[in-house]
Symmetry: C2
Subunit: 336 residues, 2 copies
């Protein structure tokens, strides 16, 4: 295989200088039409492609975004993150950006890795996932002035009025509101909520949506608690449903719990009890259980908009303190 051509080779072939070739690539509008065509022909003929490393070295930009991939823990909900990464890869590609993955098992290790990647010039920006209220990572990123957006709100006091940093998230409350309304319309007035134990921001948000919609309808229903597990959900929902047979439907904080509730209802001879899950995982789809779809596609678009501006092709370095923004994606109820 012959050595790859450089700008110099292209320049010689087109009878122009290095810089003009570079301009054709990076600022076509400042090159005269005739010249540009000549250069473009030479590029095509030689099959020239710019060498990314040289460009990065000079411009100090990598056009690459880092994303941490959590260790796979099994279970149902990892799917949303995977779909998000898929979507992000596609959307980033359309904007001339690349996605680099990294792995870490602890926040400290993640900070170490981010440091390597950022200082090494491998990535321009980071997409954080799984943010929590006290997140050492966000502080570190802000201190270092590294552009980043999180999938998941900061969970501080006023995330929408004065966000601690740019974020994108799915409006969990809106999702459960829609789910609750659907059940109120089609199933009956006594709708239960099967949620996680207190303490999770996401879980609280989703519970709130159910509560709001129930109050608005002037009715009420029981709220049950269980940790994220199909088996445990089946036990708890089974016991509660047996004790409270008047329940007309169940809104669940996740598909795993929804599956547990569905199995419990089936075992109690009520296979048609309406149950709505959250995340629209393949498992819920397979069982024909309705679910709230997170629309990871739109989350990905939101992330890139915040990082690069609505149309931009490069990562913007903005002052976080000054103007942090957010995108709240409205989820969609998938009825089955």
């Amino acid at each position: 295989m012959a050595k790859a051509p450089t700008v110099e080779d292209v320049a010689r072939a087109a009878g122009v200088s290095r810089q003009t070739v570079s301009n054709v690539l990076n600022a076509p509008d400042i090159v005269r039409g005739a010249t540009r065509e000549r250069v473009e022909r030479a590029i095509a003929e030689l099959g020239y492609r710019p060498h990314a490393a040289a460009r990065r070295l000079r411009t100090r930009r990598s056009s690459t975004i880092g994303v941490r991939l959590d260790p796979y823990l099994g279970g149902i909900s990892g799917v949303v993150l995977d779909r998000f990464v898929h979507a992000l890869t596609e959307r980033a590609s359309e904007r001339g950006m690349r996605i680099m993955l990294y792995a870490a098992h602890t926040p400290a290790e993640e900070i170490e890795r981010m440091g390597d990647l950022v200082d090494g010039g491998e990535i321009d920006a980071i997409v954080l996932t799984g943010t929590s209220r006290e997140d050492t990572r966000t502080n570190w990123l802000q201190e270092r002035d590294v552009p980043f957006v999180s999938f998941g709100r900061p969970w501080r006091d006023d995330d929408t009025g004065a966000p601690a940093h740019p974020w994108v998230d799915v409006d969990g409350a809106a999702g459960t509101r829609a789910a609750t309304r659907h059940l109120l319309d089609h199933a009956g007035s006594r709708i239960a909520f099967l949620g996680w134990p207190e303490g999770s921001g996401t879980g609280g948000d989703r519970a709130r949506g159910w509560g709001e919609e129930m109050s608005r309808a002037g009715t009420s229903g029981p709220r049950w608690y269980v940790e994220e597990s199909v088996g445990r959900a089946r036990e708890v929902a089974g016991a509660e449903l047996a004790a409270d047979p008047a329940v007309d439907g169940v809104v669940c904080v996740s598909d795993a719990l929804a599956i547990g509730a569905h199995l419990a209802a089936t075992a109690l001879g009520r296979p048609e009890l309406p149950v709505v899950g959250f995340d629209n995982t393949p498992a819920a789809e397979a069982l024909g259980i309705a679910s709230v779809e997170q629309l990871p596609e739109q989350v990905a678009v939101g992330v890139l908009d915040l990082l690069m501006g609505p149309t931009g092709g490069i990562v913007l370095r903005r002052s976080y303190a000054a103007e942090a923004a957010y995108v709240l994606v409205e989820p969609r109820l998938v009825v089955r």
Copy 2:
């Protein structure tokens, strides 16, 4: 934020030359102990990290592996690929390698993308997924002498004796053999196989395992065909089970079909009919359906071994024609 230190800064601080610092990083054994310690101290104090782009430019190596992420199509089986990417990211990280994702919708577009990434020096090697018998990508990669390994065998005439290129795959036949044996031991002698229509290499491989184990046991069972869909599997399995109630268990080519079969059996009043799926997806786990686990972790290890040698830290450029190798991972039956 102060400018990042370079080798020059470290050299000055340690009272040595650029190259010595470089040697401490890349060939510590040729530097005298005392010198090395002095340099290491300076590196730590300054918080120096090598600039990847400069290194890449000079060494023409990126220590990065490209992986295509298929557009997310929903359904159940995409999970295996995601788990593989997770595992690959972690294992690669341990060997000082990074993973870069790219997106493409057609083979032609994928070749275009691979060209960009390889010629641009972004990646040293590629991991292909979803190989087929006539794969334009593998030919292109071999012509260009780009190191690559596929997850999925080449499906040529003699994949194990004379592989067309390095590959890693899961031994589907071994998986269904184990599943079949398990059902023969615990359920009865009439075990059905619910598989895809003819034509798929993977599907054929898995069907073979069932067939072999049935012959070995001197028994036989019906083979049913249906495309990859929970709903369709439910219909087909339901009809067949009703027509042939003597069936003692069903081995399925995928979890989606297994779920369909399980639902059909339940609807026929036989919820305990043993069914085994393939891929061990969260959906099967949630329903308590046994499944053959692909062990994507081991596939990832196999891929890296083939690319870099069992312990190596850099991608090996070998002659494919001369010595192509393969790794066949033995899957594991997860009983539930």
